[in-house]
Symmetry: C2
């Protein structure tokens, strides 16, 4: 069996480990996560790694470097999932990393740095509505007030960590020492359609896009749909529609910008009543913060202008904002060199979704390798990746690790 | 106390009769409707009328004409309401009619025709989701399959009629003989803002607008809001937004047309997911059927074109269609003459909402007098009418009845 076939087999095995029967759902510190960690730890050990679980529940496999005091290079992704998830989002990156180490181990190669493979405990944030718990702890960016959050059953995060076998009081001890780390690379499915459209198995991530999320309400006046002349209306949904058209128009003409209205509600919401209020969400992302911010400001002004012209009120609230994170140029360069060997062309693309790499980039140079997924579908049971693409990704990562080894002084 | 003050007092008395404590809700054949009919019948008798309740539950007061074999002229409106209704929608028309007869009775005037005041049993259709039950029975347009409908508690319409004291087997005997009827006039609050804007107490209804109601779905492709470039999206909500803007634009430039999108849903409906489907309602009304139909056809084509251009699917279904009903020119002319005496200007306006008059027009010339209501609000506890406007409406109707009497041969 080829290494990529083995990865696909393991993907299937992990897909059977779920908190919800009949679906793939693995949430932070759950029974399914315990079983997943156990199984993955076994695979890590088979690949020559020593394993441990840290205070928050990250699974960490350690493969020694040439020397005892070698620095660390980190590979990984997350083992938790969304509810009713696909098989690949998260696990694929962990399994590819294990396979890379296995490749070294079989050839008895040790690099000038130790390799650690991390299965992050919580990237999706399903249980406590706060994502990246695992990488935040390793990066020393965990906010302790999170420990008081309660899940849907009322169990506090502190309690969940304890029950899982972690130690909520010692999260800071799980922090990595940035000085000891060379870098972090995460392989992940693209979750978008760009690689498929470009007919490429893998792509190098240039940056993880920053995001502005806003909630907007247009408030007009409800009225009878039959008896209120058009000239006397204050139709909030018409204002929202005009805004949505403007959002799409601006995003289409701004290279690399994505802007989405995903939620909308018209109130009171009856076919014969003019909407008195329309509420909508706005999600704006770009790999360049300045561009995202200026685009978002333009859109906010558009909303305000529409409301003013129509004599409506506009309530506008930014509910979430994250800065873009640039991937390490050096790691991306090395990944790109490796990728070029396996495929004819190379593309750099931003990641529109967030990843643990965005957190890890706060303490160490970080890079990402994207793998083509079918129709760009993710967070859905239909998520699919071809075994041939997994093979190419594996070759890229194997080659990359050796290149990085050379760079850090390993004899050819 | 003036006649209009008395009407306002009676409006308050009726407002206390409800199927839901603390709100005004009187649904078809309910205990509240029984009490309302009883109270209104008493007022009818005080105004010199003989009263009866017909097989469906319409309350009918009869005021004799000069001769025993005189034809009938009908006045009225409905006594049922929507849930959590205002005080005026329906009852005002019945109380004005009773007051007109009282006016004749006090002066011992009998006209060349008998006057019947009808308190219709069901105009709003709350209980069985089928409006105009009362007028349909009188007009011989009642569909007997309705009797099998069940309300929210499982009570069939036939049973409800029986319990109310009616006779579901004899609905056809309640039918009016069109040859015996001169016409029907209904006074009703405008339920819109036109009279208020024009600073007029009353207006004459030119026609009851026809209506086309459609359900439209745009079906595109869901996707990740961060990872799907604008150029690769099939955003169903953007298509819907473009459509809504077009609906408003067309309606605004078409005199007398109203077109409304009152309901909208984006699926799956998450801020970080591109909507794969958008569903919306469309309500188009105009007093001229040809104009409504051509406008609706244009809008349907716009929807199809938008979908085609965006490579989406568009599902388009007409769920309801009613033809416009013209008011009687002769009755409107007489009403208009009477109205001009009480106010400086006269306007003719279409009714965008449906009324019993639209059903009655099927068997007899029918006219409507609209009364200004505050902010055009209706179907809401905030519904309000000024006593001065009630007085003007009463004078218009009193004058109208005398004019009609003259026309039918009453000596001056």
């Amino acid at each position: 069996m080829s290494a990529s076939e083995k990865i696909m087999q393991r993907i299937e095995a992990l897909a059977k480990i779920s908190d919800e029967p009949g679906k793939i759902t693995r949430i932070f510190a759950s029974p399914a996560m315990r079983r997943a960690n156990k199984l993955v730890a076994q695979w890590m050990r088979e690949a020559g790694m020593k394993t441990r679980t840290d205070a928050i529940g990250n699974l960490i496999g350690h493969y020694d470097g040439e020397k005892n005091d070698a620095k660390l290079f980190l590979l990984g992704s997350h083992l938790d999932t969304v509810r009713n998830a696909g098989k690949f989002d998260g696990p694929l990156g962990v399994l590819l990393a294990i396979s890379c180490v296995d490749h070294l181990h079989r050839q008895k190669i040790h690099l000038p740095f130790a390799v650690q493979v991390i299965g992050f405990a919580d990237e999706e944030g399903v249980r406590y509505q706060t994502a990246y718990l695992g990488s935040q702890v390793l990066a020393g960016r965990f906010n302790k007030t999170n420990l008081r959050r309660r899940d849907a059953r009322g169990i506090s995060m502190a309690n969940a960590i304890k029950r899982f076998g972690g130690n909520p009081a010692k999260l800071s001890s799980a922090r990595l020492n940035p000085k000891q780390i060379i870098g972090y690379v995460e392989a992940h499915i693209e979750q978008g359609p760009v690689l498929e459209k470009q007919n490429l198995a893998t792509g190098i991530v240039s940056a993880i896009a920053g995001q502005t999320r806003a909630r907007i309400s247009f408030i007009g006046r409800a009225g009878h749909a039959g008896t209120t002349p058009m000239s006397q209306r204050k139709d909030a949904l018409c204002a929202a529609a005009e805004f949505i058209v403007s959002v799409e128009k601006l995003a289409k003409k701004t290279n690399g910008l994505v802007a989405t209205v995903g939620e909308i509600a018209a109130l009171p919401g009856a076919s014969n009543v003019i909407p008195g209020e329309a509420r909508l969400s706005l999600d704006v992302r770009h790999e360049k913060d300045s561009l995202r911010r200026s685009a978002h400001l333009k859109l906010k002004n558009v909303a305000i202008q529409i409301a003013r012209r129509r004599l409506l009120r506009c309530d506008y609230e930014i509910v979430h904002e994250t800065a873009a994170v640039n991937c390490s140029r050096e790691l991306s360069r090395l990944l790109g060199q490796s990728a070029k060997r396996g495929q004819k062309r190379l593309i750099l693309l931003p990641s529109g979704a967030g990843h643990d790499a965005a957190i890890m980039a706060g303490i160490t140079p970080s890079g990402m390798l994207f793998i083509r997924c079918k129709n760009g579908i993710s967070h859905h049971p239909d998520e699919a990746v071809k075994v041939e693409d997994v093979q190419i990704a594996l070759e890229v990562l194997n080659d990359f690790l050796l290149s990085l080894g050379k760079k850090h002084g390993r004899a050819q």
